[in-house]
Symmetry: C2
Subunit: 148 residues, 2 copies
DNA sequence: TAGGTACTGATACTAAGTATCATTAGATAC
DNA sequence: GTATCTAATGATACTTAGTATCAGTACCTA
């Protein structure tokens, strides 16, 4: 469990979120939720599906799509531009740092980011609606590339 | 032609870039380069391929891949997380603002962005290697959504 | 203008994700 | 506890994005 500048990032509890939205608590969804809650790194839906051979591939995709809509899972871009997913432990607007070696994802919020976006809005033609920021890091548990 | 804080964004000239890298100036590459140079919005390789029926689909993909490697084209994420491409008019490190209505892409550099990244580096566990910032805007030529 | 080879286009393939549809299983009512 | 309605499932086929293969073509240089 990680805290940046006073923000505590708590463990996720996915099934109740889905149930509150009116979705049924089915066995496949519970299995997916349980697996996701243990994950601290980014993943692809395909890899998730392989880890859950008892659940149909289409159901894994459907459930991840639901969790995306509900805001419990985020889609993020890796350094090479491909797509990955990650569990959102904070409910509100945030950004990600992704370890380029192990795929570990941390979420962060920083007032400075939002101030920057406001400042850029003034310089950029048109109205800024949304933004996306990803930091690519070598996390504390991975060796920074000494062989290079 | 656009200028943000004194940085002039010039028109691209793709074929010479490829030739300097030792790639041959073939007819299909010239056709792709010519089409791209006229584009001011983001595009998919598939759409490009449709606009160039005389060029094989594989060749369009191969050429875009080359231009990506050379840095003449960037891959960027749309607001919904899907991938698009855009011509890079500035050679060096920059970010994009993408119009969510017409797909027009503007490039920008801002010292404030790089200062922010440095500041975040200090707060975030691990070593920051790279970053990605995309702004989603409604550009000056599109009506901001009054019907909403 | 001949020749080596980088490049092309057709095709088949992989990977990521969606649509369809008959069947199954949660939730609620009885 | 059982019936029932309907959301959800899984199998399958499909779409979209991108890559691999390979015989044939067309650049470039000598």
């Amino acid at each position: 469990m990680l805290s940046i500048k006073g923000l505590v990032i708590s463990d996720a509890n996915l099934m109740p979120v889905l149930e509150e939205m009116g979705y049924r608590a089915t066995a496949p969804r519970k299995a997916i939720a349980k697996l996701l809650e243990q994950k601290h790194d980014s993943f692809t839906v395909e890899s998730l599906s392989e880890e859950l051979p008892s659940v149909g591939r289409a159901t894994v995709y459907r459930t991840i799509k639901l969790l995306l809509e509900v805001g419990a899972v985020c889609k993020l871009a890796t350094i090479d531009g491909s797509q990955m997913y990650s569990l959102c432990r904070v409910g509100h607007h945030h950004h990600h740092s992704v370890c380029i070696q192990c795929g570990a994802v941390e979420e962060f919020r920083a007032a400075a980011v939002e101030r920057l976006i406001s400042a850029l809005s003034a310089e950029i033609p048109g109205e800024v609606i949304d933004h996306r920021i990803e930091l690519y890091v070598v996390c504390g548990f991975c060796p920074s590339d000494g062989g290079k």
